[in-house]
């Protein structure tokens, strides 16, 4: 186990290097540069040239690359090329919003998705199963954007229960939680759809297994059969899809963040691309890769927890 952990941690270094190298070169290949983006189309050519020089964009690529790696090795994420603000400071301000949204969306998604999946699997090919499947398919087809607007219309405009937009004040629990509720519900419901589908499939697989039949034949109560025997075995793919969602939600919840006007890591990433803020993009990718690596590691460890037959 410890050896496994050590290997995994050692392997994060090449993972980081690969991601960062790719990102570093790709953002520099696409047209446009931060100097032009920052100064706008009205700026004079001299100003753009001067800013490029100050941003260090006129240095050879490999020098920029090693400078970036060296800064990173010192734990320095650098400064935004656009606002000049320290990126670690920006991340510190934005990350709590992303984390609370991701966690609560996973909470909603898993809490609704897994039981629904089990339920539809146990009642497969009944009316309830059809309804459940079709609703979850609708969930898959509806863009987060759309669902967000609908939820906003219902809860904020019609019922006037919750605020429609903004991230809320992180230091004020009530403001924070009221602003979190709707986006979390939006992402949670979308996640529910795929978790339900996969849970249903995994459960169907397992419910037909010999040992489940045996358990049933032994006269065990149905609940024990489903939860103690079947679910445990079906849990591995379910855990992996939840892990995938966790990773995706951190960077890919841009649309939801935009609709609800919340700050977030995903928005920061897209903003950095649009503004050609190379340093911000690179640094956000560092953070994001870190999350992916850790989430995947945790998921892999959970596998052996839920299914003791899996060993590392």
């Amino acid at each position: 186990m410890l050896k496994y952990l050590a290997t995994r941690l050692a392997l994060t270094i090449p993972t980081f290097l690969a991601v960062l190298t790719l990102v570093f070169f790709v953002v520099r290949v696409i047209p446009g540069d931060p100097a032009t983006a920052a100064l706008g189309d009205y700026a004079s050519q001299e100003a753009v040239t001067a800013l490029r020089e100050r941003m260090g964009l006129n240095d050879p690529l490999y020098i920029q690359y090693f400078r970036f790696l060296a800064d990173l090795a010192r734990g320095d994420l650098g400064k935004s090329m656009i606002t000049g603000k320290s990126i670690s400071e920006m991340v510190r301000q934005v990350l709590p919003y992303t984390l609370e949204l991701t966690l609560s969306a996973i909470f909603v998604g898993a809490l609704l998705g897994v039981p629904l999946g089990i339920y539809t699997a146990r009642n497969s090919n009944t009316t309830i199963d059809y309804i459940g499947r079709i609703t979850s398919l609708a969930g898959l087809s509806v863009p987060a954007f759309y669902l967000g607007i609908l939820i906003m219309l219902l809860f904020a405009i019609k019922l006037k229960l919750l605020p429609a937009v903004g991230g809320g004040d992180l230091n004020d629990f009530k403001s924070n939680i009221t602003h979190l509720a709707l986006p979390a519900l939006t992402l949670g419901l979308i996640m529910t759809a795929s978790v339900t589908r996969l849970t249903r499939s995994a459960m169907l697989n397992v419910l037909k297994e010999d040992y489940v039949r045996t358990a049933r034949a032994k006269g065990l109560p149905e609940r024990a059969v489903v939860f103690r025997h079947a679910l445990r075995a079906a849990l591995v793919p379910i855990v992996s899809i939840i892990g995938i969602w966790a990773a995706n939600l951190i960077a890919d919840s841009v649309l939801t963040e935009t609709v609800f006007a919340r700050p977030g890591l995903g928005k920061m990433l897209v903003g950095a691309i649009m503004q050609r803020d190379y340093t911000a993009l690179q640094s956000v990718m560092v953070i994001y890769t870190g999350f992916v690596v850790v989430i995947n590691l945790i998921t892999d460890l959970v596998y052996s927890l839920v299914d003791p037959r899996i060993t590392h």
Binding site: N125, L140, S201, N205, K208, V236, P237, G266, L269, I273
Partner: protein
């Protein structure tokens, strides 16, 4: 389990009887039939949108067949008109007939949805299966590559493909496929780990079955069900991601209709002309529904345990 039966039965006999049994399983499943019919309708709509199969060989410009209007024809002065008798689904923000655009858009969207999921699924399943079964250094290498791929959100992956391969619809499909592959790989990997520890795999190994055979006969069929479900889950996503990549210049260029881009255009008039985004959204819903129902039906016949 499946091991003894499949190995002992005489091949040709097995095939024929199995086929018949599988067909029976499938056709007894009413939702699967519904999925099949819907899928066929959608494919026909895409195919017969215009008379290209007559016109193109003759070197003529195709004329709309199932679509009532030219999907590119603009009527700017009546833009965003509500659905009426002339325009069943109304007009978009350029005054183009939305129904005609949905019919033509089926071509791009179906191609993107199906091919990118196929690419992502194939790549992912191969990676996941190999990593899960072989373990050790192979597993570490593959799964860390998956980590790298997973770290790229679709927009960045799109930019990378654009930078390296240039624009074009096939490059876009490839980009979406690569974005989807890690999710397949991780689920396939976990499912393989689970299945691998079953007794029948041990048994197969103990009687000297080759690695390839074990993967092909014992592991792959057992994880296929989950993979089909996963594929049907990501189809809708793939169709929609097209819009995000078209807008950075990868993939279809305007005014070619595609459902994802239609929804995207419609979102800026969500309250003024909801039909602009609602109908393409429903097209995606129906397509995904069709694929999912069909997928579930296939899943049932592909599942080795359910065949018993």
């Amino acid at each position: 389990m499946s091991l003894d039966s499949t190995d002992i039965v005489e091949p040709t006999f097995r095939l024929r009887s199995q086929r018949r049994r599988l067909a029976n399983t499938f056709f007894r499943n009413r939702t699967a039939i519904l999925g099949l019919i819907l899928t066929i309708i959608i494919l026909l709509v895409a195919f017969f949108a215009d008379d290209w199969f007559v016109a193109l060989p003759q070197g003529k410009t195709p004329t709309p067949l199932l679509a009532p209007y030219d999907p590119l024809l603009q009527d700017a002065r009546n833009r965003l008109s509500a659905p009426d008798d002339d325009h069943l689904m109304g007009l978009d923000s350029y005054g183009r007939d939305i129904w005609s655009r949905i019919v033509f858009g089926a071509r791009v969207s179906l191609m993107v949805g199906v091919s990118s999921v196929a690419i992502g699924g194939t790549l992912g399943v191969i990676m996941g299966l190999l990593a899960g079964y072989l373990g050790g250094a192979v597993e570490n290498t593959i799964m860390r590559v998956v980590d790298v791929l997973m770290a790229f959100p679709s927009l960045i992956m799109g930019l990378m493909v654009l930078a390296v391969l240039g624009s074009g619809i096939f490059n876009m499909i490839l980009a979406i496929g690569i974005v989807l592959s890690p999710t397949f790989a991780r689920v396939a990997h976990s499912a393989t780990l689970s299945v691998k520890s079953n007794e029948f795999v041990e048994a197969a190994r103990s009687i000297g079955a080759s690695r390839i055979r074990i993967i092909r006969v014992h592991l792959f069929p057992n994880i296929l069900g989950d993979m089909v479900v996963l594929a049907s889950i990501w189809t809708a996503t793939a169709i929609r991601v097209e819009a995000n990549l078209s807008f950075i210049g990868l993939g279809v260029s305007p005014p070619t209709p595609a459902w994802g881009s239609m929804i995207r255009d419609g979102t800026s008039h969500l309250f003024d002309a909801p039909w602009e985004s609602l109908y393409p959204g429903m097209a995606i819903l129906i397509t995904v529904l069709a694929f999912n129902l069909l997928g579930d039906g296939l899943r049932d016949i592909l599942d080795p345990k359910l065949q018993q």
